[in-house]
């Protein structure tokens, strides 16, 4: 074993957190965010929505069950760094094929272990959005670049991918999709076409889908402003489901606004209320932006879900068109699957509509 080297996370607000370096040997800059999930570190580090972010795990013991070949949400982790408490280098699980620290190294992601992550979380909370610099030296000033990177571009597929199946055909617009969304569609027998985030309406039209799913993804949704009209057009023509960033994009496309949350919702324990039934579902969430309540045109959209704690919008439904969006992750992984029915309902909805269309033809 190599000798442990000290590592430092320097926040733009001046605080420095010390630990030991793990993973890739390189410095890194990113927005420092935290996730409260107690399981699912593998899914989290491979979730493309974290692109460009340094993720802090609230749960202090990470790596217990190693890394397996099944639970990756994307092929290459896109996050900028990882901050954890106690690193487990002796994982135990029948599926484990790798250590957490090795996975980081392989993926070129640097990290720091041995950090009081609770203190870091409290710091982030008191500072709001905060960037940090992860490095082997303490003296680095956390310099913030002028412009944000356009992360969706980096994580979205460059070419169209097809998954054959005998069910309805769904186009999955990839803003940084999680593999679990694809899996959920495939499990429902959908044929899936994954298209780059910037695929215009005409192209999608040519694919002749039964429905379109706008995926999750990293960053500020307003960065995608120039595609809003296309997104609107797509959703007007096909049954559409928006998840997370996809939800925000649809809201924006119809004229709503988004804003940054003070420190985001990231974890697997977020209660949302289904307004129709009054029932509360526990959801997996990972978002830093939220649709502004007052900006919703009540004549066009109905709010379907609200966060129980901060009352923020968690879901929308178009009043006339088959468009539904959710801020949380019905595909789970990691997190609870209380709302997996949303994906199922979407598929059965397009399946029945597809039959109707077919019948007319």
């Amino acid at each position: 074993m190599s000798i442990l080297q000290n590592g430092y996370l320097t926040l733009e607000t001046g605080e420095v957190f010390e630990g030991v370096l793990i993973g890739a040997e390189k410095d890194s800059l990113g927005e420092v965010v935290f996730n409260t999930s107690m399981t699912g570190y593998q899914e989290i580090i491979t979730d493309p929505s974290y692109a460009g972010q340094i993720i802090t795990f609230c749960y202090p013991i990470i790596g217990n069950y190693g890394i397996n070949a099944i639970d990756n949400e994307s092929i290459t982790p896109a996050l900028s760094g990882v901050i954890i408490g106690d690193l487990c280098e002796t994982p135990s699980h029948y599926q484990s094929i790798n250590k957490f620290s090795e996975k980081l190294k392989d993926a070129g992601v640097p990290g720091i272990a041995g950090v009081d992550t609770r203190l870091l979380v409290k710091t982030i909370r008191s500072r709001g959005t905060v960037k940090g610099y992860l490095s082997h030296t303490e003296t680095v000033e956390c310099s913030v670049p002028e412009k944000n990177d356009f992360w969706v571009e980096k994580v979205s597929t460059k070419k169209i991918q097809y998954f054959k199946n005998n069910g309805p055909h769904v186009v999955l617009m990839d803003f940084g999709y999680k593999k679990s969304i694809l899996n959920a569609l495939l499990d429902e027998n959908c044929a899936v076409t994954i298209v780059p985030y910037n695929t215009p309406f005409e192209k999608i039209n040519s694919l002749n889908p039964d429905g379109v799913l706008l995926s999750n993804g990293p960053g500020d949704p307003v960065e995608l402003k120039k595609w809003f009209p296309e997104i609107k057009k797509i959703s007007q023509n096909y049954p559409t489901l928006g998840i997370c960033l996809g939800h925000q994009l649809i809201a924006l496309a119809y004229g709503a606004k988004t804003k940054k949350l003070a420190y985001g919702h990231r974890g697997g324990n977020h209660p949302v209320k289904e307004l129709l039934t009054g029932k509360v579902k526990i959801t997996a969430q990972n978002h830093g932006y939220v649709v502004v309540d007052e900006s919703i045109d009540n004549k066009v959209f109905a709010v379907t879900y609200r966060n129980v704690n901060d009352r923020s919008i968690e879901g929308l439904k178009h009043k006339n068109l088959p468009i539904q969006t959710v801020q949380f992750h019905p595909e789970a992984h990691p997190g609870p699957s209380d709302t997996e029915y949303i994906l199922k309902d979407f598929v059965s909805q397009i399946a029945s509509m597809g039959e109707t269309v077919y019948a007319i033809k």
Binding site: T36, C88, S92, K122, V280
Partner: protein
């Protein structure tokens, strides 16, 4: 849906006396529920006959019935109180069973009482084996295949169907005796035949064996709107095969991937929805270690020990929320009290790890079968919180108060390898330390894993602690590197262990940390991993991070809690700790509480102003004292726990309130204490302190047999024996040297006087004393006060004797002086009052005496320690006037749970709990406690086996019983003696087979077995008593007990009246006899 407004009055059913498997967690649950109901303006009527509880306080429930927990009594209460609703899912299995009975006997329907929360149908679906099975099949959730089998052939054909391995559990045997696993045909033949033979009804349960699978628990909540949440999941370190109450448990699960976590979460939610539970529910799973296959092992459709643990582990108050759900609220309408700004409909996220260790009673029962299996044996538990498993485990170990501070134990170094292997395979209470010893000897992790079937994750951690301990031991204190010490503290290695390793005083270790400016940080338990601001002052320490806890500069008083529940130090001390905290608050100070027992009310964050969930070792207590800068420490309310560390606290300059540490010593040290009594001219039992075996033998001879022998500084009569001859004494010495540590010496040896025993609790301010009452013991001296039936007011004390008791108490209190509270035990022999012992602290009888007299004893005892005088508190002093009603306390034993333990009455305490009966007459009060010998039937057999020395004394009692048409069966010697004295003996029992046949074929009313010595497994008497326990026949091991019951049989079978505690008080005011 908001609160159901039609509910004005609700009956809450408590769980009764503490037994193994049903302990203080139900006082915590019940108390929370009562408060949750009261704050909605609902009048709460409570029934519970466990007087040592907080829930039976008038401040918690509006009307408290300390009455027997049976359907007849509850019906009387319902008839009288006319409640609108009843909650029965917060009183453990007792409460649940009673609720079902009340419903099935249509009592609830008859009086129009709504069953709140989970319905009876749901309860039965969860509890009834067949119904549960069918329900799970319906929703496609897997349960282990099983069948009830009555014959060998039936069993073989069933196993053919389901395949190996299987477990065979005989019906009605003690602690699963006679059962076992079968992995192939030969084993099946052997175990099945043995099992069928072992069961008195030739019935076994054959079930697919999932031994060795991971055992995972989920705590689930559901409201009437079908919103379901998981409060917490937990992973048992000990795989399936060891009862979860006896397992080492961590929260949250550590070795499950998110897929597995969510798979079991989904299953939990499916189950709770199908069962339509309203409130809390515990679901236990077995998860295959090498696949995602799982089985549901068990569902508890009620709050449980695990839910208390989950509540303390996360901060989410399950019982409180369950009560709110039961009266109509939905989870999203209830504010999460921890954050104050989020709602109960969420799942706690925690950013620390919790380790629970079970506390076993084997230190008191060296003869017990220590093997762990499916029958729970632990009496209590400790919980520890840290940011690493290693840290939490080390904290938990020192919380146990077993005189153990690390994993490598000297005693285990001498265990032969063969035994080591056995102990790894078939675990007992020492398993954790045995695993450590195996690693110390260089066993490979794979080997240990194979033998224990414990997940390697845990074994790696244990092994790393062993490595660290070994490395620490390879240095001297003078040359141990600071970096290594730092690593030790980050792993929360005890200061005490370091002091033992380096053979230096613990103070020197502490001083080193001061030099280095090292101290732990404190963090908050906030249900949300710091995602939201939390308002609840519930803290734990860690050496892994920053101290985030801000302190204020108010005046603060610290209450040291009593730690895990064990025999001799039970829930009563939690009652005292809670009341002390309340008194402190009332006086305008901030109450700081430290404790480590997750079952209790004292560790409810709403009790103290600031709660520290920490070990009660000097190191941890001192850190909190320094952190909070407390103005004084109360040590009299946490049992012996706080007394034991008082010296170290004082040495560090901590202000101990009340009786000084020096005076505590004077009262506890036998020699000094006798000197004090002699100076005060108070008679005491003749006795000596001896430091070695020869001295002991000499002293015993000089005093004259029988003698009472015990170690000093003990609680609950640990290793205490009445010894009748020198031969017995020699045997005792051999046993003592085999079983215990060097700290047992010096021993105290006293002359044994078979007199009347009584005890008082005294509140003193140094000048005056106040004694609420005198408890008289029914059994003669020689039976531990915790195990004797006692009555208040006393039956046979003359006024002058009472005056003498009070005079002696005053003299002791005044001369010491005692400030606060003390307990004095007396033995009155031939009209002379002798002082047996003084406990310079609160005692087991305090909650009872407080409750039956209405005197707030702990509040007053706290206030005198804070400087008030008794004159300010009470116009009356000395012995209070006796009430005109009676209160009788009787011990409750967990005999059926502890195989190998001889529950014979003696000087060592064995009961786990107690019940209280109140009545206008002694007879009525006693009747509420003791089952009479039952109605007369054709076969009223009594089995008698009586030691020679008691044979004569037993004659009038037996004659009386014969007069009442009881038929006598006796062992040989007893039979001969009876026949010589013209007592007809129906049958003479010669050997074990006779006993078995007897129990199997005759309806036995009771066993009267007065042993010579007891606690000797090879003795015939031991076998008799164990058979009696197995066949659930009452055993009486003391003539005084049976005599009290015969007197009861003489009286008319009265249909007693139920009265709330308040009504008893009013009786007194009116001076009326009949209310």
């Amino acid at each position: 849906m908001p609160l159901n407004k039609t509910l004005k009055k609700v009956l809450v059913i408590g769980s009764g006396p503490i037994v193994i498997g049903q302990a203080a967690e139900f006082d915590y649950a019940g108390t929370q529920a009562c408060i949750a109901l009261k704050e909605e303006g609902i009048e709460v009527v409570l029934i519970n006959n466990n007087p040592a509880t907080i829930m039976t306080d008038e401040a918690v429930a509006d009307k408290v019935y300390i009455e027997p927990l049976n359907v007849e009594t509850i019906e009387k209460i319902i008839k009288k109180e006319k409640p609108d609703g009843v909650i029965g899912t917060l009183g453990g299995q007792t409460g649940l069973n009673l609720t079902v009975e009340l419903y099935e006997q249509k009592i609830l329907q008859k009086y129009n009482v709504e069953l709140l929360g989970t319905s009876v149908e749901s309860i039965k679906n969860g509890e009834d084996r067949e119904k549960f099975r069918n329900l799970m099949l319906k929703i496609g959730e897997p349960i282990p295949e099983s069948a009830i089998i009555h014959s060998f052939e039936e069993g073989v054909s069933f196993v053919k169907k389901i395949g190996f391995p299987v477990i065979i559990r005989p019906a009605y045997t003690l602690g699963g005796d006679g059962g076992g696993f079968a992995y192939n045909d030969e084993e099946l033949e052997m175990v099945l035949k043995k099992g069928l033979a072992a069961s008195p009804i030739q019935q076994v349960l054959v079930e697919r064996s999932i031994k060795g699978w991971k055992e995972i628990e989920y705590e689930v909540m559901r409201d009437a709107n079908d919103t379901c949440i998981i409060v917490c999941n937990m992973e048992n370190m000990d795989p399936v095969g060891v009862h979860t109450g006896d397992s080492i448990v961590v929260a949250p699960s550590q070795t499950l991937t998110d897929v597995q976590y969510q798979m079991l979460r989904d299953s939990s939610i499916k189950v709770i929805k199908e069962l339509k539970i309203i409130g809390g529910c515990n679901i236990q799973f077995a998860l295959h270690p090498a696949s995602n296959q799982y089985y549901i092992i068990e569902v508890n459709p009620r709050v449980s020990r695990s839910s208390a643990l989950a509540s303390k582990a996360t901060g989410y108050p399950i019982a409180r929320m369950a009560a709110k759900c039961a009266i109509g609220y939905h989870l999203d309408e209830i504010v999460n009290p921890i954050t104050g700004n989020t709602f109960a409909s969420f799942e706690p996220a925690i950013d620390y790890i919790v380790v629970k260790l079970p506390r076993f009673p084997f230190d008191k029962f060296p003869e017990a079968d220590r093997t762990l299996g499916t029958q729970m044996k632990a009496t209590g538990e400790v919980m520890a919180i840290d940011r690493t498993f290693e840290g939490a485990l080390n904290k938990a170990i020192r919380s146990m108060e077993m005189n153990v501070y690390g994993l490598c134990l000297k005693a285990n170094e001498f265990v032969e390898e063969k035994n080591l292997l056995e102990l790894l395979t078939q675990g007992n209470d020492q398993r954790l330390f045995i695993i450590a010893e195996s690693f110390r000897r260089g066993f490979s992790l794979e080997k240990v894993q194979q033998l224990t079937e414990i997940d390697p994750w845990f074994l790696h951690k244990i092994s790393s602690i062993v490595t660290l301990e070994t490395e620490l031991a390879s240095y001297n204190w003078s040359d141990v590197p600071v970096s290594l010490l730092k690593q030790a503290k980050r792993n929360n290695i005890a200061d005490k262990l370091l002091s033992q390793i380096y053979a230096i005083p613990e103070k020197q270790v502490r001083n080193k940390w001061k030099e280095l400016n090292w101290k732990p940080g404190y963090k908050m338990v906030d249900t949300c991993s710091a995602e939201f601001d939390a308002v609840t002052p519930y803290y734990y320490s860690t050496w892994h991070g920053f101290d985030e806890v801000e302190v204020n500069h108010k005046k603060k008083i610290l209450v040291i809690g009593s730690g895990p529940i064990r025999i001799g130090q039970g829930i009563e001390f939690d009652y005292c700790s809670v009341h002390a905290a309340q008194a402190i608050k009332k006086k305008g100070y901030e109450a700081v509480v430290i404790n480590n027992n997750p079952e209790t009310v004292s560790t409810d964050y709403s009790v103290a102003d600031r709660l520290y969930f920490e070990p009660l070792a000097a190191e941890d207590v001192l850190h909190v004292i320094e952190k909070e800068n407390v103005d004084g420490v109360l040590i009299q309310f946490g049992g012996q726990t706080a007394i034991n560390i008082a010296h170290e606290l004082e040495e560090e300059g901590v202000k101990i309130l009340g009786t000084t540490v020096e005076n505590v010593d004077r009262l506890e040290d036998r020699k000094e204490f006798y000197q004090l009594l002699e100076d005060l001219n108070i008679p005491h039992i003749e006795g000596q302190t001896v430091t070695q075996p020869e001295e002991l033998i000499k002293a015993a001879a000089a005093l004259g047999y029988p003698v009472l022998v015990r170690p000093s500084y003990v609680i609950g009569g640990q290793s205490m024996f009445t010894i009748f001859s020198e031969a017995e004494l020699n045997q005792y010495i051999v046993q003592l040297e085999k079983n215990s540590q060097a700290t047992m010496w010096p021993l105290l040896v006293d002359k044994y006087l078979p007199g009347l025993e009584c005890e008082i609790d005294v509140i003193c301010d140094g000048e005056n004393i106040l004694v609420p009452g005198i408890f008289e013991h029914i059994e003669k001296a020689g039976v531990h006060s915790g195990d004797s039936i006692s009555v208040f007011p006393p039956l046979s004390l003359t006024e002058s004797l009472k005056e003498t008791l009070i005079d002696y108490a005053w003299k002791i209190a005044h001369s010491a002086p005692v400030i606060g509270i003390m307990n004095i035990q007396f033995v009155i022999y031939q009209d002379q009052v002798n002082v047996l012992e003084v406990n310079p602290r609160s005692s087991r009888t305090v909650p009872i005496m407080s409750k039956v007299t209405g005197i707030p004893m702990i509040e007053w005892a706290t206030r005198v320690q804070l400087g008030e005088s008794l004159n300010d508190l009470s116009s009356k002093k000395g012995l209070m006037e006796e009430p005109n009603y009676f209160s009788v306390k009787s011990p409750v034993f967990s005999s059926s749970k502890l195989k190998g333990v001889d529950h014979v009455l003696g000087p060592e305490m064995k009961s786990t709990g107690e019940a209280l009966g109140m009545g206008i007459t002694y007879q009525e009060a006693l009747e509420k406690l003791i089952p009479t010998l039952g109605g007369q039937t054709d076969e009223n057999y009594l089995f008698c086996s009586i030691a020679d020395r008691d044979k004569k004394a037993s004659l009038p009692i037996i004659q009386e019983l014969v007069k009442k048409q009881y038929k006598i069966v006796a062992t040989e010697g007893t039979a001969v003696y009876f026949q010589d004295h013209e007592i007809p003996v129906e049958k003479v029992v010669q050997n074990d087979d006779d006993v078995i046949n007897l129990f199997r074929n005759q309806s036995m009313k009771a066993v009267i077995n007065i042993p010579n010595q007891g606690r000797n497994k090879i003795k015939f008497g031991f076998q008799i008593r164990e058979h009696a326990v197995r066949y659930k026949v009452p055993v009486f091991t003391h003539l005084d007990t049976i005599e009290a019951i015969i007197n009861l049989e003489k009286g008319p079978q009265s249909d007693f009246e139920v009265r709330s505690v308040n009504e008893y008080y009013k009786l007194e005011e009116r001076g009326a006899v009949h209310g």
